[in-house]
Symmetry: C2
Subunit: 215 residues, 2 copies
DNA sequence: ATCAAAAACTAATAAGCGTTAGTTTTGAAA
DNA sequence: TTTCAAAACTAACGCTTATTAGTTTTTGAT
């Protein structure tokens, strides 16, 4: 008769949620059974119900906790007096650090939310949409303020958020780069771009790559 | 007694695969039952087995067809005489167009491959890894050739591929931007980056963000 | 019209699912 | 040591799953 051992500073429910999250990430929510979770912990499946209400509750807790963290950070950034591009960079860095430190939960809230039951699903989708709209609004102000190039803010939000969510595969594949340089490189690409920038900047004829080999 | 009506220029198996793909994308592979697929087509579930071998076979066909298309394109690009950044742009554009034109299949090959059975899973992961390595190699040459800024090619591959895969949520949410400007904007961000590029060549007389040292 | 193959059907399989009921064990407070 | 609740257990429920077997209908070529 094994026992559920709680994580340090956490409840047994937290311990279940953590183990479950790892499995949801690896196999997906629908393909993870309560028996899988129980086995990973070392108990029988029905024992879990002394601590949780349902399988769906685990998913709900994970998704909405992460959503809350991102929304809280966004609110702080919106109220700060930084330049708009600086706000965007701060948001990018926060997303990256969340992806590095809590990647299982973040991954689930990004990829498994579609399995939330009924009304929760609608709630989550609304929060998601609003978050992106507020991000696009910051970008738009940055464009108006000539801090950011003339791009479609909607596409920019899409690009930024999904680029960051790709860190998942960094996590999966053994972290070939350390976290700090991952962050710096990704920020550099997203904020500065791929193009080599000479000391004297060329006019923005961006799509034609006319520069000759070896300058 | 309804019938499976084949897509134009396609087999009945193709018709099943298409309907199934739409459901795999919407609900995920494990959460999509053969009965779901059958109902969407208008037949009973066992009838599908006159045309396909198993549910897994549908997933396999989709994943490996897409993988083949990307690998073929990559081979062409590798052999072309373009500049390296131009190769990268070509690959980015191909990925975007695939995401626009075949998004269901591409989405599945990106998000549902983990449900491939045993040996197929290993095969797929190997192909995926090799593809990324070849992409990173092009980036590295572009960096050596001073076409591309000094960044970690591994991180760049990650960023590019996942940024593009975010087009999925553009497809999901009613295509608020037309496909052409989606492509141009995303290429612009990924190839040039977010930073504002002034017409005037002096880099210091406008509002630019000096990058923060950490957060 | 005939006949065979293709493709639909119904019925049923064994296995797995989330969850509940009821019972036993555990561990700490009295 | 007794007591009681927390937390584990076993057994089982009703349902769904992918798939198979066996049968009937449809289709197209002769």
């Amino acid at each position: 008769m094994a026992k559920i051992v709680p994580a340090k500073n956490g409840s047994k429910k937290d311990a279940i949620t953590r183990k479950a999250s790892a499995l949801f990430m690896k196999k997906g929510f629908p393909a993870t059974s309560m028996r899988d979770i129980a086995e990973a912990i070392g108990v029988e499946a029905p024992s879990l119900y002394n601590h949780i209400e349902s399988k769906n509750e685990i998913l709900k807790d994970v998704c909405f906790r992460i959503a809350r963290l991102f929304t809280n950070h966004l609110r702080e950034v919106e109220l700060s007096p930084e330049l708009y591009l600086s706000k965007i960079e701060s948001i990018i860095r926060f997303h990256i650090s969340m992806m590095v430190e809590e990647y299982e939960s973040v991954y689930i809230s990004e990829h498994e939310w579609k399995h939330l039951p009924g009304p929760l699903l609608n709630d989550f989708k609304t929060r998601r949409r609003n978050y992106r709209l507020r991000l696009a609004a910051i970008l738009q102000k940055g464009i108006d303020n000539k801090e950011i190039g003339i791009i479609n803010p909607y596409v920019a939000v899409l690009t930024i958020l999904s680029a960051i969510s790709g860190i998942e595969s960094w996590q999966r594949s053994g972290k070939k780069v350390d976290a700090k340089s991952l962050e710096e490189n990704m920020v550099k690409i997203l904020v500065e771009g791929l193009r080599y920038q000479p000391e004297i900047k060329s006019p923005s004829n961006h799509l034609t790559l006319k520069r000759q080999k070896g300058l």
